[in-house]
């Protein structure tokens, strides 16, 4: 089987719309979470929301980068996807070295073109107005995958994965398996989402899982998640092709584990998360004592963080309290189908720069969790193996195992 390495990175996120800006904010602990401006369609001062903050991509003008025909026929989420994928492909110079039908595009997007859907539906139901003729192309969840293919001229397998908050991680995991097996020689993979519409915020508000203050995973006083948006994309290819063309290698993906809780549509179960982590390690031929960093799902809800901690204790036993862990959602927010890809990017940068990002917002680590949460400043250390966890609503779990690249040939 092929070894699979990461040779290109791209992102449009609340903490940076280039990988360099994302990395700077990641290691500076500069959060992208801030009060959102009023939604014009919202009634009253409170807008019917218990929370006031989100993690938005700032100063995004698709017209600076995309043809007008693409802009008018796409939702914001697809525009994020195209531009992040373009960065990753250019960063890795991928297409000069791989046949276009031998490259896959596997991306995660759970919500589709949410803004377009909501805008047109509101017009239709409140004014009996006509629906914009490009609503279908703007709302289809696979539009991002298709547009990356069109934009870059990639003709291999193209798929969108929708597994709620694990979509991006499932996508990267499947792309990893496809490159490892030799089905394709390279892949562009990641996630994208732009769900910060008024209706979506109200829906999440009604679930009472969004923080009225700010997402602070693993904090004793944590009170919920903060919603975000954005995209992160990676280029994966075989080690053989990366070395043959002398590409920069940022990290190696060595394992992928999936599981389902088969339990509840919102309440997580620790056994499912533990199983996904165990399978990722088995896939990587690694043992639990080799894990030196966990990029947690860490949403900042009481339920997720307690369940994820319980899963880590189940799997790692006495080591659980000593494995450095952080949730970068405290910086870039929870961008649903994209978030696993943003976290994979954060993990890759951590491995590459030997700096583990700190968890922002924590006032006091919850002692009941008994975890080594990285606080205040990044921890400077080299890591042998890292896990990146995604644990979605509906009990769909996906875990990537990554290593810094070491030439063992």
């Amino acid at each position: 089987m092929n070894r699979v390495v990461v040779t290109g990175l791209g992102c449009i996120t609340p903490i940076g719309s280039t990988v360099e800006d994302f990395r700077t904010a990641l290691f500076a602990g500069a959060t992208g979470i801030e009060p959102f401006p009023p939604y014009p369609e919202a009634p009253g001062e409170t807008q019917g929301l218990r929370f006031t903050q989100s993690a938005r991509v700032k100063d995004f003008d698709p017209r600076l980068h995309l043809d007008s025909g693409v802009v008018v026929s796409t939702d914001r989420t697809t525009q994020f996807a195209i531009l992040a994928a373009r960065q990753a492909a250019q960063h890795g110079n991928l297409l000069q070295h791989h046949a276009s039908d031998n490259v896959a595009i596997i991306v995660g997007c759970a919500c589709g073109g949410r803004q377009a859907e909501e805008t047109e539906t509101a017009k239709l139901y409140t004014r009996d107005a006509r629906v914009h003729p490009l609503t279908v192309t703007r709302t289809m969840a696979s539009a991002g995958a298709s547009h990356i293919s069109i934009d870059l001229g990639i003709t291999g397998p193209v798929l969108n994965i929708s597994t709620a908050c694990a979509s991006g991680t499932h996508a990267i995991g499947l792309a990893f398996q496809m490159v490892r097996s030799g089905m394709v020689s390279a892949a562009i993979t990641g996630g994208h989402e732009a769900p910060l519409t008024f209706g979506f915020l109200r829906a999440w508000d009604s679930m009472r899982v969004v923080s009225p203050t700010q997402c602070r995973p693993f904090s004793a006083d944590r009170d919920g998640m903060t919603l975000g948006e954005g995209s992160a994309m990676l280029t994966l290819e075989t080690l053989e092709s990366a070395q043959a063309r002398n590409a920069s290698i940022y990290a190696e993906i060595v394992g992928f584990g999936m599981s389902a809780d088969a339990h509840h549509i919102t309440q997580p179960a620790p056994e499912g998360a533990a199983t996904a982590m165990r399978k990722a390690l088995a896939d990587a031929n690694a043992s639990t004592d080799q894990v030196d960093y966990i990029n947690a799902h860490g949403t900042g809800t009481q339920a997720n963080d307690a369940t994820e901690a319980s899963a880590i204790h189940q799997l790692f036993g006495d080591r659980a309290a000593h494995i450095p862990i952080s949730s970068t959602k405290s910086l870039h927010g929870h961008s649903i189908g994209a978030t696993g890809a943003l976290e994979a990017l954060a993990t890759i940068l951590a491995l590459h720069h030997r700096r583990l990002p700190a968890n922002a917002g924590v006032t006091k680590i919850d002692p009941a969790l008994n975890l080594d949460v990285i606080l205040n400043a990044p921890r400077e250390t080299s890591v042998g193996l890292a896990l990146s966890n995604s644990l979605a609503f509906g009990g769909l779990n996906a875990v990537l195992a990554l290593r810094p690249f070491v030439d063992r040939s």
Binding site: R63, S68, G69, V70, V71, V72, S73, R130, H132, P133, L134, T137
Partner: protein, 87 residues
């Protein structure tokens, strides 16, 4: 007519992200790089702006900005019913 022309030009300029003063009544949609998606978007915006409905058969015959302005003007005059003939 002038108001209609100005509004049509503004809609095309916004949709194509080009300066309004680069568009004249003689500009063809080909010259303005208006592709099929642009055209469907521009037509929808024009319909919304003037509260008209451009018939399917008319869409294919509109080649220039002037054609569009003439068609909109006719539809406005004949409204209702909404029909249009274009060159």
């Amino acid at each position: 007519m002038e108001d209609i022309a100005q509004r049509c030009i503004e809609i095309i300029a916004k949709s194509k992200s080009i300066p309004a003063d680069s568009i004249t009544l003689d500009s063809t949609f080909d010259e303005l790089n208006v592709d099929s998606l642009d055209k469907i978007n521009i037509s929808f915006e024009v319909e919304e702006a003037f509260s008209i409905e451009i018939p399917d058969e008319a869409l294919g015959t509109i080649k220039t900005v002037g054609d569009m302005v003439k068609g909109v003007t006719q539809l406005r005059e004949n409204h209702p019913p909404a029909t249009v003939t274009t060159p």
